[in-house]
Symmetry: C2
Subunit: 379 residues, 2 copies
């Protein structure tokens, strides 16, 4: 299997509620990615920006200030998967030969765009009647717990793990060690989900220089990348949440990469809520349906477990600036595969996986999902 593209450089801002403007966040992430790749901004042939709520012009101004010439810029939106979609399109562009070097950028200055929760589409009657994202996830949590005999304590362990992982990530929004009891005693958001089981409102940016393999730059390679979109969730389905879309994207990503689940050494996935990590692990195929909670309790997704998940802290603790999330996930996996993950570094990871799910922000209105596999540069 030949690589689609090389991740020649990555960069991120810090994540959190912060006074930096969207433009400053982009400048930080892009500056780091460009320096990391050691390329000249003027050699970038195409720029893909993922953003949901801010002005595309924000990124644009930062890019111009960073010395870019006039590359075609394309802004894409697929809710929470917007940043990963930007990476996917950059990889496709270099694979097709449309670009030698492409830049993927993700940014979200959520505190500019909303005072509290993500606002809902005024024409979305489901959302208006209460079916906002925490409620949808809460319902799938309830169903999951009932069907598979999972307790609130087991669900909370995902939050405990990801917050603990974030202790090693100086850019994470929330770092603090919590017990299961503390997670369960935090403010209820939508039962059974408590505050510490929900990803926060965040500001942040991420960037990656994506190079054609023929450019000969060093860095982990993107071995496969699948982007699919599908019907709204909850889908009419006998299963919880939106397994089917993630399953299909995962199957394609593994097939295209010629890899099995046992090959994967590090995973960053979409834990917008604790239940999200569990059902996503199952949909990706790492555990049979109904077993991820038990496996989490037994430590299978810890740093020293069978499949380390969200070592960055994940969306729950690193933060979830929508458009930036996919780039933050990619950066973490790239750093792990390069041995640059600091305190979070795994001993010897070779293959990594990134998954991002974009349930449209208004609530129930169609999905996008990106799954990509990455491989260490062994040259």
């Amino acid at each position: 299997v030949s690589a689609l593209a090389t991740v020649a450089g990555v960069g991120t801002s810090n994540f959190g509620k912060q006074s930096l403007t969207a433009q400053e966040l982009v400048a930080a992430a892009v500056g780091e990615a460009i320096a990391d790749a050691g390329v000249d901004p003027r050699d970038i042939d195409a720029i893909y920006v993922g953003n949901v709520f801010n002005y595309a012009g924000t990124a644009y101004r930062a890019l111009l200030a960073a010395g870019f010439a006039d590359p075609p810029i394309l802004t894409v939106e697929s809710a929470c998967a917007s940043g990963s979609l930007a990476v996917h399109l950059a990889a496709e562009a270099v694979r097709r030969g449309d670009a030698r070097l492409a830049l993927a950028v993700g940014v979200e200055k959520m505190t500019d765009a909303m005072a509290g929760p993500i606002p809902t589409d005024p024409n979305d009657f489901d959302a208006a009647s209460g079916m906002v994202l925490p409620a949808v996830y809460a319902m799938s949590a309830t169903r999951y717990m009932e069907r598979f005999g999972v307790t609130a304590e087991q669900l909370a362990r995902v939050s405990v793990k990801n917050h603990r992982n974030a202790l090693g990530n100086p850019r994470a929004q929330y770092r603090g060690e919590y017990t299961v009891e503390q997670v369960l005693e935090s403010r209820p958001i939508s039962t059974p989900l408590t505050l510490l089981q929900c990803s926060p409102i965040s500001d942040g940016a991420g960037a990656a220089v994506i190079a054609a393999p023929s450019a000969g730059l060093a860095g982990p390679s993107i071995r496969s990348s699948a982007y699919l979109s599908a019907r709204p969730w909850p889908e009419p389905s006998g299963r919880v949440w939106n397994f089917e879309l993630i399953e299909r994207a995962s199957r394609r990503a593994f097939e295209d990469a010629g890899l099995t689940h046992d090959d994967i050494d590090v995973v960053e996935l979409h834990d917008a809520f604790t239940i999200g990590e569990l059902v996503t692990l199952e949909a990706l195929g790492f555990f049979p349906e109904g077993e991820a909670a038990h496996a989490t309790e037994e430590g299978a997704t810890e740093r020293d477990g069978r499949v380390p998940v969200n070592l960055s802290g994940g969306l729950l603790s690193r933060g979830h600036p929508l458009g930036a999330t996919g780039l933050a996930q990619l950066a973490e996996v790239a750093w792990q595969l390069r041995g640059d993950a600091g305190e979070r570094q795994l001993p010897d990871p070779r293959f990594g996986l990134v998954e991002t799910m974009g349930g449209n922000v208004a609530g129930l209105s169609g999905n996008g999902c990106v799954v990509m596999t990455l491989e260490r540069d062994d040259r």
Copy 2:
């Protein structure tokens, strides 16, 4: 020159400030385009949505209601050029063989997203200090008038022409015959631009079924399509407005199509303000710099002139629902080339051109521009 793609069907909503939801507007446009093409929604392989201010989920729900299966959906934003960018990407997808049938959709429910003018990016200091779009266009109008000895009366003639054209378009937002004096006496917005020289806040949607030529469907073909983006305007330049980007896109579109300006029988272009039509005509190469105002006065862009421009009424009169505009322009040119333009029908047009300019909505933050050429189906 072989065609990139076939415009197998087009559809639009009515344009204006209206009570229909964004979802209902999309349903109207998509339903018409699908029926026009005579295809089954389940055979659509990819969907590209152009939108700036609304939720992508809005279009998504309408598409699902219209009977689409689960095609990959990609939402793109390039300010006013978002809809044309969706068409461009659909054409690229079928040309590359990634899809046999693609759907391009544009929608903007501006009255949902803003009470008055387009809101500005809170971090855009230029916009905050008054450099909003009408002011930028007004400055280029002042410069253009001064440099080329053009009067306010000559500028106003663009508005008179396009409003008169809209009399024949039952879907246009504003239909009314105005004199030069009435245009100049309408409320000042940013001198020298008066109300009737500025495109309105609009709600609307458009859609097009874009087919691979090998699919054998009837309809005008897209002979070339160029999408470029570039630095913010006003660019540091000795010329007015952002000539350079439109010029480069135009050159590429004409070269790829193997056509000259004399071949073009019908043009829909981006007259967001009266001055926009003039500088765009020059940047596209239809007139030498500084001559479009005089040519307009002499009738060269009228229905029976050398190059009929904005027979639909243009953005000024048909309306300018940002994401939908490119689809509305494409539909008008397709109808003209098919002989389906009703009262607006030209006698025997063979080649058409669509141009859309996306100055980013926050003000001065980077541009996108699409120029495409179309050819009548003579089979």
